[in-house]
C-alpha cells in the first residue's frame, strides 16, 4: 500500500513542473536541469546524449566552479589579503591545520590532495540541495574513482616515504622478533584484505549517504505534490530535509577526507620509528607497542 502511494505520488509529480519523477524500476529522484531538458525535447539526440552523461557533466561543472573561484581569489595576490582571497586563505589554512593535526608537522605535503578531495566532494554534495542541480556523488560510478584515487595515492605515498622494503615490512605487520616473523604470513593476508576493503567502504559510504538522502527528499517532494489534491497548494514538506542535506553533505565530505588522512597517518607512523631507531630500546618498544594498538 505504501509503495502504491509513493508510486502514485511520484506519478502525480511527473505532471507537475518540479519535484520527483519515477525512473524505470529505480528509486524516485529529484528532477534536474538535464532531465528537465529531456522532458522538453524528448526527440533530440543531443539532449539524450547529455542525459546519458549527466554525472560527468555535473562533476566537470563542479571542477570548473572550484577552479574558477580559486583563480578569482588568487588573481591579485597581496601580502595583506582582501575579499575572496581572505576567505580562500582561511579555508586552506583550516584544511592545513586539520591535516597537520592528524599526521603531524610533516602533514603539509599531503594537504593539497586531501583538500582537493574535500572540496570536490563537498561542492558535489551541496549541488544536490540546489534546485535543478544534481549531485554526481549520488552515483556509485562517481564515488568509486575518488576512492580508488585515494587508495592508489596512499599506497604510492607509502612506497615513496618508506621505501619498497619498508612498505612490505608494514604490510607484514612490522615484525621485529621471531614471533612477529612467524605471524607475518597471516598478517600479510589480513593487511591486504584490509587495504582492498578501504576503497570499497569509502565509495559505498559516500554513495549510500548521498543517494539515500536524495531518495528521501524525492519521496517527500512527491508527497508534497500529491497532497495538492487535498489542500490545493503544493506543500514544501521536504523543507526540513534540505537542512539534513546540508548536514550530510558536510559530514560526508569531512569523513571522507578524515579517513584519507587517517590512512596516510597509519602508514607514515612507521617513519618516526625509523627516525628514532637510535633511541634507547625501552622507548622503542613502548612506541612500537603503541603503534600495534593503533593498527
Amino acid at each position: 500500500m505504501l509503495f502504491e502511494s509513493v508510486a502514485w505520488a511520484a506519478e502525480t509529480a511527473e505532471h507537475g513542473t518540479e519535484a520527483a519523477h519515477h525512473a524505470e524500476g529505480g528509486a524516485p529522484h529529484i528532477l534536474n536541469i538535464i532531465a528537465f531538458l529531456q522532458k522538453l525535447f524528448p526527440d533530440s539526440h543531443f539532449v539524450h546524449f547529455l542525459h546519458q552523461h549527466e554525472n560527468i557533466l555535473f562533476t566537470v561543472f563542479c571542477a570548473i566552479l572550484i577552479s574558477f573561484f580559486c583563480w578569482l581569489g588568487a588573481r591579485h595576490r597581496q601580502m595583506i589579503p582582501r575579499g575572496l582571497q581572505n576567505c580562500i586563505e582561511m579555508l586552506f589554512e583550516g584544511l592545513d591545520k586539520f591535516v597537520c593535526g592528524i599526521i603531524g608537522p610533516k602533514g603539509t605535503k599531503y594537504t593539497p590532495f586531501v583538500g582537493s578531495v574535500f572540496l570536490y566532494i563537498l561542492i558535489n554534495n551541496l549541488m544536490g540541495v540546489v534546485p535543478l542541480m544534481h549531485s554526481a556523488t549520488s552515483a556509485f560510478t562517481t564515488t568509486l574513482p575518488i576512492a580508488l584515487a585515494v587508495f592508489f595515492y596512499v599506497q604510492l605515498t607509502g612506497i615513496r616515504e618508506l621505501g619498497l622494503g619498508g612498505y612490505l615490512h608494514h604490510l607484514v605487520g612490522s615484525p621485529n622478533d621471531l614471533i612477529g616473523w612467524m605471524l607475518a604470513p597471516l598478517l600479510l593476508i589480513l593487511h591486504v584484505i584490509g587495504e582492498l576493503a578501504r576503497p570499497l567502504s569509502l565509495a559505498l559510504r559516500l554513495f549510500g549517504n548521498i543517494s539515500g538522502e536524495h531518495v528521501l527528499m524525492a519521496i517527500f517532494m512527491g508527497m508534497g505534490v500529491a497532497i495538492t489534491g487535498v489542500i490545493k497548494v503544493p506543500a514544501p514538506i521536504h523543507f526540513p530535509f534540505l537542512f539534513l542535506g546540508l548536514l550530510t553533505s558536510f559530514i560526508q565530505a569531512f569523513v571522507f577526507s578524515l579517513l584519507t588522512t587517517i590512512y596516510l597517518a597509519l602508514l607514515l607512523s612507521h617513519e618516526h620509528e625509523h627516525d628514532e631507531a637510535h633511541g634507547n630500546d625501552q622507548h622503542k618498544t613502548e612506541q612500537s607497542l603503541g603503534i600495534t594498538e593503533i593498527n
Binding site: F3, A27, F207, G208, N209, S211, I251, V255, L258, L259
Partner: protein
C-alpha cells in the same frame, strides 16, 4: 507465476523489516558512541574539538554498516 508472487510479497515484507532491524542496532551503537563522547566532553571541556572529530570518525564507521544495508535494499527494491 505463483512462485514469483510469493517471492515478491516475501521481499516486500522482509526488505523494510531488515532496514528496521539495521536501523535499530545502528541507533543503539550511535547512542553508545555519542553518550561516551558527551561524558568525555563534560569531564574535559577543553578537549571538546578533538573528541568531536574522533566521535564523527567513529560515527561514520558505525553508520557505514547501516548504509550498506540501505544500498542493498535500494538495489533489491527494484525487484518488487
Amino acid at each position: 507465476m505463483e512462485n514469483a508472487m510469493a517471492f515478491q510479497s516475501m521481499l516486500s515484507i522482509f526488505l523494510p523489516l531488515s532496514l528496521a532491524i539495521v536501523g535499530m542496532f545502528a541507533a543503539l551503537a550511535l547512542g553508545k558512541a555519542v553518550s561516551a563522547a558527551m561524558d568525555a566532553t563534560a569531564r574535559q571541556p577543553e578537549a571538546a574539538g578533538k573528541i568531536l572529530v574522533n566521535m564523527i570518525a567513529g560515527c561514520a564507521l558505525i553508520e557505514a554498516l547501516a548504509i550498506y544495508a540501505l544500498v542493498f535494499a535500494i538495489m533489491t527494491s527494484a525487484k518488487i
